[in-house]
């Protein structure tokens, strides 16, 4: 393992975050605070509690997941797409490093940024609503696994995209709707039976459910199912990336 090479990519990507601090950290935090204002104050005044938890507190895990999912994808996809776009990818491909090391550098940096962002949102939420974390270990595990999995997905999108439009299509048209409909702002049990069944086809439901369980022990599906689904997505993304590097798809063809 060439740790120096991994470290070079990681440091390069983290330096980009420092240069774009407003876009990377401040903007998502402001958006989340606005969600609290709109959903917590406006809707929360009508839905006071969900299964014994105040509505404002109930939506915190969903809001963190919303930001972590979208920012993981955005960071990782842009991180690998930009060198492809500018042509500087040549030095990554000609360096004596394995695909695993390349992925570790890019995805590690993207996931780190998302975890930092999730932690900042969590801290911000603590100032606005009362918070309790029943299972801190599981909370951290879900946060880290989700950040890694969706950073891997973002990396795949960054390689697949051959233009800035494609770079935006998956996050905007697929991931954001799935997250909004995945129980960020409500419990699946609040939906009519038909929509509950439909919701179980949404993979984000399992992520938010597990994450929310680590806070309030409230879940739409069991913890094991949530963990199993994350493990499945992780394996799927890793397999796709392995295939991309094996075939050189859009990188070396």
């Amino acid at each position: 393992m060439k740790w120096r090479a991994v470290g070079a990519i990681y440091a390069f990507e983290m330096a980009r975050t420092r240069r774009t601090l407003t876009q990377s950290i401040v903007a998502p935090v402001i958006s989340t605070v606005l969600y609290f204002v709109v959903f917590g104050a406006a809707i929360g005044s009508r839905i006071t509690e969900v299964e014994g938890v105040s509505y404002g507190s109930f939506i915190v895990p969903g809001l963190i997941m919303l930001s972590v999912l979208t920012q993981s994808i955005a960071n990782a996809s842009f991180g690998i797409y930009f060198p492809r776009f500018t042509g500087t990818i040549y030095e990554i491909l000609s360096a004596p490093i394995s695909f695993f090391e390349i992925v570790l550098g890019y995805v590690g940096a993207a996931a780190t940024k998302s975890i930092i962002l999730g932690s900042i949102i969590l801290a911000t939420a603590g100032f606005i609503v009362p918070l309790e974390i029943a299972h801190p270990f599981w909370m951290a595990l879900f946060l880290v696994l989700t950040a890694i999995t969706f950073s891997l997905l973002g990396f795949i999108i960054g390689i697949w995209a051959d233009g800035f439009e494609k770079l935006q299509i998956v996050p905007l048209l697929i991931v954001t709707p799935l997250t909004f409909l995945g129980g960020s702002f409500y419990s699946i049990s609040m939906l009519p039976p038909l929509w509950q069944t439909v919701s179980y086809f949404n993979p984000v439901v399992y992520l938010i459910s597990g994450f929310r369980w680590s806070f309030y022990e409230l879940a739409d599906v069991s913890l094991g199912v949530s963990l199993g689904m994350i493990a499945f997505f992780l394996a799927l993304c890793l397999s796709l990336i392995w295939w991309i590097f094996k075939t050189g798809y859009r990188l070396k063809s």
Binding site: A8, G87, Y90, L93, S94, A95, P96
Partner: protein, 308 residues
């Protein structure tokens, strides 16, 4: 001299069906400057990109210092530095950071002294804290060279390194190249400025339509394929060649003031003595004589035309 790069029966066909390389075999010798010449689209960059790991090879194999570029890619690539044809830089990075980044990418420990020397040699030291987007094209080209040399490679690929670079900068670059060669670095150079290859290269390879059509020592190539001409400047204007001189390969220049004699330097007899005798007998007087030899560019153009 031993080979440091061996390309064996390499063929590359892109997904669209275009065959960029056809059964290419090539040996690059350790410590030499090898000039790879060819018209646009001949396959030069594809060949370099495959050796460096940027493009997947098709059939065939490549070894770098005995290391297979696929099976033992880490050892092979760690020996290579590449200056690409395109000016591809991270616009927002500083010169210092981007050069250090490349060194890190190759797994080398930080060495500020080496990077400082490199930047000074390439006249980039006073620009080290400037962002790449603020640099001129020539300066960006120097940065790419600094990046390629940051990990102290044994082999350096220069793909059109002086394209768009002014004369002064070009001279600086060649000084660096000479220094590298003296330090034992093998250099593979592609260029459109064939006089550069003529001045710099030890050996020349010509590639056309994906095929290597010639590999030769530069001096041998110019001796074998070069032609020499003897120009005789006449004292008086001549309207047509006298019949007594028709047996010689003589041409009369358009202005009627110069006779041009083309001959083969490798021939047992060049025919110059007989020509001068016949000129004397015909009473033709001349005021100056000089010879010219075809350049590498002339040879290159003829080779490519013939192959096409």
């Amino acid at each position: 001299m031993r080979s440091i790069i061996s390309v064996n029966n390499l063929t590359k066909t892109y997904a669209g069906g275009f065959t960029a390389l056809k059964d290419v075999s090539l040996e690059i010798r350790d410590g030499e400057i090898f000039g790879l010449l060819g018209p646009n689209g001949a396959g030069k960059t594809t060949l370099i990109n495959i050796i460096c790991g940027i493009v997947n090879p098709g059939d065939g194999s490549i070894t770098v210092n005995g290391h297979d570029t696929i099976k033992d890619y880490r050892a092979a690539r760690s020996l290579i530095g590449l200056v690409p044809q395109e000016l591809t830089t991270d616009a927002f990075e500083t010169v210092w950071h981007t050069v250090n980044f490349t060194r890190g990418l190759f797994g080398k420990a930080s060495n500020p002294g080496h990077i400082e020397k490199l930047l000074k040699d390439l006249s980039l030291w006073d620009k080290k804290d400037e962002r790449l987007m603020t640099l001129s094209g020539g300066m960006k080209r120097r940065v790419l060279i600094a990046k390629a040399l940051s990990h102290e490679p044994q082999i350096l690929f220069l793909d059109e390194p002086t394209a768009g670079v002014d004369v002064e900068l070009r001279k600086d670059m060649w000084a660096v190249v000479h220094e590298l060669r003296d330090a034992g670095v093998t250099i593979i150079l592609t260029t459109h400025y064939i006089e550069e290859a003529e001045q710099m290269a030890d050996r020349i390879g010509v590639i056309n339509q994906g095929e290597i059509i010639l590999v030769e020592e530069k001096t041998e190539l110019m001796r074998k394929l070069g032609i020499k001409q003897l120009a005789l400047e006449l004292q008086g204007r001549m309207t047509k060649l006298p019949a007594a001189l028709k047996t010689h390969k003589l041409e009369l220049a358009e202005d009627g003031m110069t006779l041009i004699y083309t001959y083969d330097t490798r021939a047992e007899r060049t025919g110059i003595t007989a020509l001068l005798n016949d000129l004397g007998k015909a009473g033709i007087k001349f005021r100056d004589i000089h010879t010219t030899q075809s350049s590498l560019e002339d040879i290159f153009v003829n080779l490519v035309k013939r192959a096409s």
